[in-house]
Amino acid sequence: MLSLEEIVIYRDKEPLLQLSAEVAKGEVLTVMGPSGAGKSTLLQAIAGQLQAPFTLAGQIKINDVVMNNIDAHLRKVGIMFQDALLFEHMTVGENIAFAMPNNAHKNKQMKRDAINELLAAVELDGLADRAVTTLSGGQQARISLIRTLASQPEVVLLDEPFSKLDVALRSQIRTWTFSQLKARCIPAVLVTHDKDDALAAGGEVIELR
């Protein structure tokens, strides 16, 4: 469970946004608002990537543990952007393996099986050895999703992840994403401009001004 308790984000010393919210396991909190309202900055604060001139007050808790002073790489918070951002010097399989925690699998074969299982879940079986540049946009988006899931995150942040996809792909990828998150009981925060995204997410919606 993710709790945002009386969060205030400041730019220099000016308050940029304020909110409080709780996201239960498997739920999606949607944050909407105009550009410049601080939506992405909020996600960066939760991810532990907040940089000057921004500062944070209030508490971010994951499963009742305060995260404010914990480094980004120890938070177990996965983040996805509108670009898939797959690492181009690695194959599809290596991208996923890179995300898996160390010692999560006993040997190479088990790791490989786990990768294939993840790929099968998004109907991309057998693509493990492909170069990421040979994939279509929709395939890349799905790989990006299972890469995030492979790191076994406790919270997932979605920074307009569907906005670059065309309409047909969009609803399909959206369905994939939300059902996978639900199946794994992961709380998520979605930032978007699109009302349909908010409807599909089905959770609480916060409008920033």
Binding site: Q49, A72, H73, K76, L85, E88, F98
Partner: protein, 612 residues
């Protein structure tokens, strides 16, 4: 932990750049004030400066330094803008870069020597003009004229001229590529590029010619970013030693060359004079900078009026023909230089008006290669050490910038310190540095030479690396970090592989800069570590032209090989990766489809049979 390491690296880099230069400056200021205990001078006084200014030629020396430095920089800036305005929107831009880049990586010494060959009274141009003259006089005045009696000396008047024109031209030839490539690298920064593309489109839509758009829209936008590199060029030009030493007037010489002579004089008391002249050199370079900034302000004010006149053209035809003419000049000069140097290197004899040498031999190569064996190894060892360690330092520094951004004030101080070695004349601080080094560890010559090289290599490696590093989409790092990877893992597994080709280029550039160092090597090692460059410069005044030609070729080839490695290694590594991927695809396909497997087996058998 890793964050701490990178922070330490950043401070190391800062200290590495500042300490030698400040120490070096102190080391010339004290002797200049008359304090030099080694020869029993213990009292501070202005006596040394009085002696310096009493020298009959001192005014002429200062004038030569100022004239060649400022003149060459202005000429180079104008030529560079001319070329950029002509080609920046054209598909030929890549070719222009290709022609000019070798000029950038060739050591100054070898460029100057090659130019010396080409422009000398017995050089290729003189030979061609004599031939043409001879031909015409043969045709028009029948056979009265004796061809050998034709004087060729006038053509040679350009070299060693008292006005320093040859130095000025050689310097600007070397500077134009640097300014162009610096400008292009600024223009290719993602944010700047986006802005400029928009500006040029708007300009075109409003009816401005590409040339006019360059001067009215592009240049004003980027000039503040290329000003510092241009000032570095200016300081370099006012204080360079190799080029005036090889091409310049001797009596009097430029100030920097005179300083070198005085410092190396057997009479130690000349050190005082040399130190005061080194302080004067700093002043001369500072005056050059002030003059440049003054003229820049004047031109800016003038240009403001012309900006809004609505004139859609900007001397288009003249500028474009200038741009093409300068490129043609470069191509002709490069061809002539390569031709002359290569011919000399293999020539048995080459008499003046002949265009081809008489007979070829490998004798010079044998002599030179055996003489160069140990300098070659020294050069390579020093270059690899210096370039690799500065690359590591620079990468960590850049990483620390992203992990823990410094406050604006510190960041500014840092970027200024990067330019410090380029803004303080080397001939001024290197001698002082040597004095300190001799006081501290007299025998650690390799260490001293290493430090002296680092001071010059680090800034270039940093400038070359920083553009690529800041261009990298930092969301990749964010994603990796939130997949649970430590900063070190993100740096090692994500950033380094993504930047591989840029890293190799920066490494090759570091090698090239280290290879080309003349004065730092000579001074810091006290002459005990000969390199290919120091030997080449020494050979100009000593051995035969043909031997020198071989030295020049070796010297020019070394950085080129570094860059070849840098260009082809990433391509090769990537090709390897692709092939592996291909193979694994293939094997997966074979296990999935038994039919295909059978077909492959069959073809394998076939090929076996064929072999039998």
């Amino acid at each position: 932990m890793f964050t701490l390491v990178t922070l330490v690296a950043r401070w190391c880099l800062l200290l590495l750049l500042c300490i030698p230069i400040l120490a070096g400056l102190l080391g010339v200021i004290f002797p200049a004030m008359g304090y030099f205990p080694a020869i029993g001078a213990n009292a501070f006084s202005m006596q040394v400066f009085a002696t310096l200014f009493a020298l009959p030629d001192i005014g002429q020396m200062m004038w030569l330094s100022l004239f060649t430095g400022l003149g060459s920089t202005f000429l180079a800036v104008l030529a560079a803008f001319c070329i950029l305005a002509t080609f920046y929107q054209s598909s030929l831009l890549g070719k222009v870069q290709g022609v000019l880049s070798p000029f950038l990586v060739f050591p100054h010494a070898s460029a100057a020597i090659a130019l010396l060959f080409v422009l000398s009274p017995s050089g290729i141009f003189a030979a061609i003009s004599t031939r043409i003259n001879g031909y015409f006089s043969h045709v028009f005045t029948s056979s009265f004229v004796n061809e050998t009696a034709l004087p060729a000396s006038n053509e040679g008047a350009l070299l060693y001229d008292d006005t320093g024109l040859s130095v000025l031209i050689a310097l600007s030839l070397k500077e134009v590529p640097f300014i162009i490539l610096m400008t292009l690298s600024v223009m290719s920064q993602p944010l700047v590029k986006k802005k400029l593309t928009g500006y040029v489109k708007v300009g075109a839509a409003l009816g401005y010619s590409p040339t006019a758009s360059f001067f009215k829209l592009v240049l004003p936008t980027i000039f503040s970013q290329i000003k510092l590199p241009i000032l570095a060029v200016l300081v370099f030009a006012t204080s360079n030693v190799e080029i005036p030493l090889i091409l310049g007037p001797n009596n009097p010489s430029t100030l920097a060359v005179a300083i070198m002579y005085w410092f190396n004089h057997i009479d130690l008391s000349m050190r005082l004079l040399a130190s005061s002249a080194a302080v004067l050199q700093v002043a001369v370079s500072a005056v050059a900078i002030l003059l440049f900034l003054g003229i820049e302000r004047f031109v800016k004010n003038m240009a403001k009026h012309c900006l809004a006149t609505g004139n859609r053209f900007f001397a288009d035809t003249a500028l474009r023909s200038c741009g093409f003419a300068i490129m043609a000049l470069y191509i002709i000069l490069i061809c002539a230089m390569v031709y002359t140097v290569v011919m000399y290197a293999f020539a048995k004899q080459w008499h003046f008006p002949l265009l081809l040498p008489e007979g070829t031999t490998l004798l010079h190569w044998n002599t030179a290669l055996s003489a160069l064996a140990s300098p070659f190894i020294n050069t390579l060892l020093l270059g690899v050490l210096v370039s690799t360690s500065s690359l590591v330092l620079v990468l960590f520094t850049l990483e620390s910038e992203q992990l823990k951004p410094a406050r604006a004030f510190i960041a500014n101080a840092f970027s200024l310190s990067l330019f410090l070695p380029l803004l303080v004349p080397g001939v001024a601080f290197l001698y002082g540095l040597v004095w300190f080094q001799q006081l501290a560890f007299q025998n650690a010559v390799w260490f001293h030479t290493y430090i002296a090289h680092m001071v010059y290599v680090v800034p270039y490696v940093f400038l070359s690396m920083a553009v690529a590093y800041r261009k990298l989409d930092n969301r990749y790092a964010m994603v990796a970090q939130n997949l649970g990877k430590t900063p070190w893992q993100v740096f090692y597994h994500i950033k380094l592989p993504s930047l591989f080709s840029a890293i190799m280029i920066a490494w090759a550039l570091g090698l090239a800069i280290s290879f080309s160092q003349y004065l730092p090597t000579l001074l810091a090692s006290g002459g005990t570590i000969p390199t290919v460059t120091t030997e080449a410069v020494a050979s100009v005044s000593g051995s035969s032209t043909r031997l020198t030609a071989v030295y020049v070729i070796v010297q020019a080839m070394m950085p080129l090989i570094g860059f070849m490695i840098a260009w082809y290694l990433p391509v090769f590594a990537m090709g390897q990766g692709k092939r592996q991927m291909h193979i694994s695809n293939y094997s997966r396909a074979t296990t999935a489809e038994p039919v295909q497997q059978a077909r492959i087996n069959k073809s394998k058998n076939k090929s076996k049979k064929g072999r039998n």
